[in-house]
């Protein structure tokens, strides 16, 4: 503890150099924090998902339609509490860029399967009674200024029986989802209305959402559902929510290895910078270190002094960098690529790297300080 002033003085011996080194490490950790945060977030996406929800899609691919008649078979599989069919109507509101997704489903079952989505009971009642009704997510309602009672036109590519592709829905309610705000961008409509009005693919769905009582039997139920439709024309693939979401993310490609490559390049570059600065700083201080040894400092203590200096520099910079990254991380949510808070394990991982960085950049100069011969070092003066 008594050596702290000594280490401090050593660090600030060349003020400009220390600040510049500090800043370059800070920047590296900002990059690391944001990139690793996005990667971790993507990997952990769906981690908070409900283990008692399963998704049934076509085994051919997730956009291949399934017959809606599968619903009654699925609900009869032991362990299944409830199931809802989901067809999707993808379209746009006012401008082509304003993409909206209307989920054609059984609204009562849907809201029972997603208890996080909060809607007033009378609005849900209104939806079951209004054929062309829709309950919209709170984010959409805010974005487009929709109110209950509005009739909203949606442009789609789905042909209706009347030969047009424009659909209209009447807003009968708004739901919110405080824990999962990203889920507030859907529109829940009646399957019967959409299915009877569309010209193609009638009687088909895009997926079934299945609620089960006991999450520990998820694997067994998935297998049971898939076995029920094995060897039919439309074989199914049933996954729990986490697997399903992870599968979607994996399609983005190898985000993880891209991030790792960039972070690797950043830290390699940085190692060179810090390592060089530390070596330079020790080289300049050889006479001072020799004096320390001459007045009785052990070899080990001098080595430790140099190492501590490196560790202090690296961990302080890492901390500043990670905190800055955490501060700007919510911007990634605005871009729609990650969440609102930086995952906690990124801090732990970052500090671990900071220690490694300090060791690798600090060890060679520390070793040099260790082997320093007092007589030679002082004579060179």
């Amino acid at each position: 503890m008594k050596f702290i002033p000594l280490i401090w003085a050593g660090l600030w011996r060349k003020r400009t150099r220390t600040i510049l080194t500090l800043l370059s490490i800070v920047l590296a950790f900002i990059l690391f924090g944001v990139l690793q945060g996005v990667a971790t977030w993507l990997n952990g996406f769906g981690a908070g998902s409900h283990t008692n929800r399963l998704y049934v899609v076509s085994r051919i691919s997730e956009i291949q339609p399934l017959p809606s008649g599968y619903l009654s078979h699925i609900t009869r599989v032991p362990g299944v509490r409830q199931a809802a069919q989901v067809a999707a109507l993808v379209g746009s509101y006012q401008q082509p860029a304003n993409t909206v997704v209307v989920l054609a489903t059984d609204p009562r079952a849907m809201f029972a399967l997603y208890p996080d989505w909060r809607v007033a009971p009378q609005q849900l009642q209104a939806l079951t009674q209004t054929r062309t009704g829709v309950i919209v997510g709170a984010r959409l309602a805010r974005l487009y200024g929709w109110r209950v009672g509005d009739v909203i036109p949606i442009r789609t590519s789905v042909l209706k029986n009347d030969g047009t592709t424009d659909w209209s829905f009447q807003v009968v309610g708004v739901y919110d989802s405080p824990d999962q705000p990203l889920e507030e961008d859907r529109m829940i409509a009646n399957y019967e209305y959409i299915d009877e009005a569309r010209h193609f693919e009638r009687g088909t769905v895009f997926a079934f959402v299945v609620g089960i009582d006991d999450p520990s039997s998820a694997t067994r139920i998935c297998a049971a559902i898939d076995a029920r439709f094995a060897n039919s024309a439309d074989e199914t693939l049933t996954q729990d929510e986490k697997e399903y979401v992870q599968g979607q993310i994996r399609q983005l490609g190898d985000v993880g290895s891209l991030v790792n490559a960039i972070v690797g390049a950043v830290f390699f570059t940085l190692l060179f910078l810090t390592g060089n600065t530390m070596t330079q700083s020790v080289r300049e201080r050889i006479p001072e270190l020799a004096v320390l040894k001459a007045i009785g400092f052990a070899d080990g203590s001098v080595t430790l002094l140099v190492l501590t200096e490196a560790a202090l520099l690296c961990s302080a910079a890492a901390l500043i960098g990670l905190l800055t990254a955490a501060a700007i991380f919510p911007a990634t949510a605005a871009l729609g690529i990650a969440g609102t808070t930086m995952p906690a394990r990124v801090y732990a991982f970052g500090l671990l790297i900071a220690v490694g960085l300090a060791l690798i950049s600090g060890l060679p100069p520390a070793w040099r300080a260790h082997r320093l011969q007092v007589v030679e070092a002082l004579a060179a003066r």
Partner: protein, 393 residues
């Protein structure tokens, strides 16, 4: 001595003393190589993505889909609509006076990837005229599929990306067995990441009546307006008509833009870090030479040439580092392909294309870093009071 002579002499001097400051100089070199390497690598993916789009696209072809969508996956066209589109004005006809048009159906098939895991591969059902329409596609192994049978041919890129697609292999799709009978290649376009088969067989297997898109060969690139006008006059059609070139560019634009933003964002943050590194190095260089520089000033060298020589050293190192970074990106990644989501739900294999233009951008970036990194130390070199600087020995 004039400005240029002085600068020349000083630059030579600092170049000769460079080996003594090797460690510090390496910092600039490696730091900048790292920045440029990352920047060029990411931009090379953008280049690859746009290259696919460009090679898939021909200005004298048009793609027609149902209105309200910009992706074939979501489109639906009835048989009547397909007939009207093929018969529209502006469509080129073959020797038998049949329109050069291909009505197509897309099915995504979930298959195991060579790299592990699985992905979606497009199985495109095409009309008889599809290969007359796209003369750039050739069967390079095996043979063409028989449109009456459950046979398919595989694009070369798709074959490299997915497992078990060799000629002779059988695939189980929707309870039916399909045989891979051939491999086709093209100019490195999007179709190379697909499989193709006869459209009727595909429709009957999947019990579909509708088509998803029609691609037509226009009389010439200029006939597009006529073609579109002829279709717009038909009130029974709710369709979207696009030039093929616009369609494919539109497909990859969003992803290309995102990657470009990432490239320059990461590149800028790293560059600032590298500027700090360069500042450190140049300060060290200037301070190591402070006596030397002061002596030069006493001997009558002007501040201008001294500053210029410091800049010249930083620029030289930076340009070298930039070139090194570009070369590294080329060595490590060029020719590789990155598997990603190609818009919609399908896997696309994006080649990484490092070309001279990108390396040029990298070197330019490097020179900016070098210039900024040298500016403050150069000022310090000439600002130091002569007497103090000389006494520092």
């Amino acid at each position: 001595m004039g400005f240029f002579q002085q600068t020349g002499a000083l630059s030579l001097l600092s170049a000769r003393s460079l080996p003594q400051r090797l460690g510090a100089s390496c910092v600039i070199l490696v730091g900048i190589a790292g920045v440029v390497g990352v920047l060029v690598s990411i931009l090379a993916m953008v280049t690859g993505l746009l290259q696919i789009a460009n090679r898939s696209a021909h200005a004298d072809r048009a793609v027609v889909m149902s209105s309200g969508t910009d992706s074939e996956t979501l489109s639906n066209l009835s048989r009547d609509a397909v007939r009207s589109i093929a018969d529209a004005r502006g469509v080129r006809r073959d020797a038998n006076n049949r329109p050069l048009a291909s009505a197509e159906v897309l099915v995504l098939v979930h298959l195991p990837l060579r790299a592990g895991g699985s992905g979606n591969l497009t199985l495109r059902g095409v009309s008889a005229n599809a290969f007359a329409l796209r003369p750039e596609l050739h069967v390079v192994a095996g043979r063409m599929f028989n449109p009456m049978l459950r046979e398919l041919i595989v694009g070369r890129t798709a074959q490299r990306q997915f497992r078990d697609l060799q000629v002779g292999r059988r695939l189980l799709v929707r309870g039916a067995e399909w045989t891979v009978v051939g491999v086709f290649d093209g100019p490195g376009d999007q179709h190379e990441s697909e499989m193709m088969t006869g459209v009727e067989v595909l429709q009957s297997t999947f019990q579909r009546n509708a088509f998803q898109s029609v691609t037509v060969q226009l009389d010439s690139a200029a006939s597009f307006g006529e073609f579109r006008a002829s279709l717009a006059g038909n009130p029974s059609l709710a369709i979207e008509v696009l030039r093929e070139s616009d369609y494919y560019l539109h497909q990859s634009r969003a992803f290309a833009r995102l990657l470009t933003v990432v490239a320059y964002l990461v590149g800028s943050i790293m560059a600032i870090g590298a500027i700090f590194g360069a500042l450190n190095t140049m300060y060290a260089a200037v301070s190591a030479r402070s006596v030397e520089i002061a002596t030069l000033r006493v001997l009558g060298f002007e501040p201008g040439p001294i500053v210029t020589s410091v800049f010249a050293e930083a620029l030289g190192l930076a340009a070298l580092g930039g070139g090194l970074g570009g070369a590294l990106a080329w060595l490590l990644f060029s020719g590789h392909a990155i598997s990603t989501n190609g818009g919609g739900f399908t896997q696309l294999s994006v080649p990484v294309v490092v070309n001279a233009g990108l390396v040029g951008i990298g070197i330019l970036w490097a020179c900016v870093i070098g210039m900024v990194g040298a500016s403050l130390p150069a000022l310090r070199a000439i600002r130091a009071p002569l007497a103090a600087a000389l006494k520092a020995t």
